[in-house]
Symmetry: C2
Subunit: 387 residues, 2 copies
């Protein structure tokens, strides 16, 4: 085989996307004998809830092997609208709901449909890694707004939140991405701050992309939803994967203004057409109540594991989510962050590097729910011994 055709070669959009940062570490992992602590990916070790497992979807479901409407099954959209209305205390109709192939697909389609080349999107940082690529895929520029570090390291008052946004906004800014409970820091954005950010977005005529996939995993208090404060300009992303341990189902949904969703659905139809049909049926069962007990149990367990992991690392307990994000600057030698990541990989522990989450050259993220609690805590101890 010859090399890539040149020209044309690859596109600037492909150049702008980060690939996996883990190839060096995976080579290191191959040399390790003993227990493995893959805490670098956000996932759960738990089995999926009863009611939504593939083998429970019987032959009695007509059309389970066929496409659905590109908006999703009508009855699923109704169920999601009812749930969103109950949780947010805001009017949400079926037209305000779009079923997507996971929250990732939903956020990609949202930013693709609503953001134009040359525009700027503010990312409240630290933040989920892939959103940077979504902004670049749209030909726009991501602007990091450091605000959401965990623990006692940041002030999240309404005034400070708005001041951070105002300090980074320009006349090219058209949107604001926020992620609460935060991946990676575990921070919750308080209700009053969301209200202030919503008013700020209205003043500046910005879209709000609200990534709330960890909505069920708030420990320090209830999760506050962004949608009610600026419903005409907020597109909120939700996930069956994160809420119910069903990452493999690739099923999520957006709640937002129907006019925006009518554009976003065209992107969705051009990427996965309709969300996986069996997963939509699983979602129907789970949202009807089959997942409630699972979530309650998982929330208690995740909170306890996160609290104990934080204690062993000498940091405050996470307010929500499934991650800890910590500055390891004091443990680095002349090899920098990658040196530490390779050293702990040599002991079986995999961590995600801080730069994937924004301007954090000496941070690491660990997911304390990716493996059972006792295994996760032994992995945490590998890191704790280095600090």
């Amino acid at each position: 085989m010859r090399g890539m055709p040149h020209p044309p070669g690859r596109s600037p959009a492909a150049d702008a996307l980060r690939g996996s940062p883990y190839s060096t570490l995976l080579a290191k992992m191959a040399t390790h004998r003993g227990e493995i602590y893959p805490l670098h990916v956000g996932d759960t070790w738990k089995e999926a809830p009863e009611g939504g497992r593939p083998e429970e979807l019987g032959r009695g479901i007509p059309g389970i092997n066929r496409y659905t409407d590109v908006w999703g099954l009508p009855e699923l959209r109704e169920a999601i609208a009812a749930r969103a209305a109950a949780r947010t205390g805001t009017s949400v109709a079926r037209g305000n709901v779009l079923v997507t192939g996971g929250a990732t697909a939903g956020l990609m389609a949202s930013i693709g449909a609503l953001v134009s080349p040359g525009e700027e999107i503010l990312l409240l940082a630290p933040r989920w890694p892939l959103v940077e690529g979504h902004v670049r895929m749209a030909g726009a520029t991501p602007v990091e707004v450091p605000l959401l570090l965990g623990g006692h390291s940041g002030d999240l008052s309404p005034e400070s939140a708005v001041a951070a946004v105002e300090a980074h906004a320009t006349e090219r800014t058209v949107g604001l991405y926020l992620n609460t409970p935060n991946n990676p820091s575990g921070r919750l954005i308080p209700r009053a701050s969301l209200a202030a950010l919503g008013a700020c977005a209205q003043r500046r005529d910005l879209w709000i992309f609200a990534d709330e996939v960890y909505e069920d995993y708030a420990y320090a208090g209830p999760h506050a939803y962004a949608f009610p404060f600026a419903p005409e300009r907020t597109v909120a992303a939700h996930s069956l994967s994160k809420a119910y341990g069903l990452a493999g189902a690739r099923l999520g949904w957006l709640v937002g203004p129907e006019a925006a969703l009518s554009q976003i659905v065209k992107f969705g139809a051009h990427t996965i057409y309709s969300a996986p049909t069996a997963s939509q049926h699983a979602a129907l069962r789970i949202l009807a109540g089959a997942g409630d007990a699972w979530v309650a149990e998982a929330r208690t367990e995740y909170a306890a594991t996160g609290r104990e992991a934080a204690r062993r690392l000498g940091m405050p307990a996470p307010e929500g989510g499934t991650f800890l994000f910590l500055d390891v600057a004091d443990a680095l030698d002349e090899r920098g962050l990658m040196g530490l990541l390779e050293d702990v990989a040599g002991e079986g522990l995999f961590l995600a590097p801080g730069p994937s989450f924004g301007p954090y050259p000496t941070h690491v993220r660990l997911c304390y729910t990716a493996v059972p609690p006792d295994v996760a805590l032994r992995g945490v101890d590998v890191l704790a011994r280095r600090l």
Copy 2:
């Protein structure tokens, strides 16, 4: 709720994508009492093959609720590589295979990763509707190359195929999309013509995007694969949906040069992350042989239905695929194509309008596999009575 934020409004990419052309027709459908013939969407009426149905995926599969590697399950990639090598007679390794969330997601990611703004892509027409949007999402320009009309209406010799490409290529042309067996015309591109197109692509340094999702449904002769003729520059899209009646699974794969797939996988990771996990396990079973008998039966039935549908419409039998594409100019009045589509919708028959497939203002497409053969043929009769 207020209107869309303005500015920013929606993106030029969203403006460039077509929405559904069916809203008027669906309104008409609501007024119809009696049998419905939804022949406008490409799908099958058949149940999925034994071996790949959701309820057969037992509890014994570890990780079925979790993400997989963004490239897909290693054992599935191996199975696909072995199958592709056997079918194409070309060396295909695991590194030449990327599992995608359906062929739609695969083609979108391919074009997004390999095509830059301002470039041009030749589309051998008629062609699958969504590829036009994929080219526009990349900021590039689709150029229609009429070549693949069905029946006796086009010459597909190697010389005529290359001449058509040469007549439309410019110095901005970087790729060529072809779809065989053709959606919508049912045409097969002969092996000698694929060889000539491969050589032409090498001469002009073009990518070839080969959409072969109907590879199992060639009736006039065996399906010829594009990959062997220019393996260093061909990205071929395949589909569990089309081959095995599993559209709801959202599972497909690409076969191509590893260097290209390494860029494409970044787009995939940013859109659906990894393909649905249960669907990947279903694909493993089906490709291991569970789907073979199903395909053989479906091929015989589809061919017979297509032949009879064509006979009733006074046109040559389709060479492959699941569609007929016919010029209805003589049946149109001053209301044009939409008038006819509305009239037949009033009798329960839904057809896809020709302009979705290229420069075909007076054509319609019908899918003769979307409903059982007897129902499909009654729908065909509705159209035949108008001609």
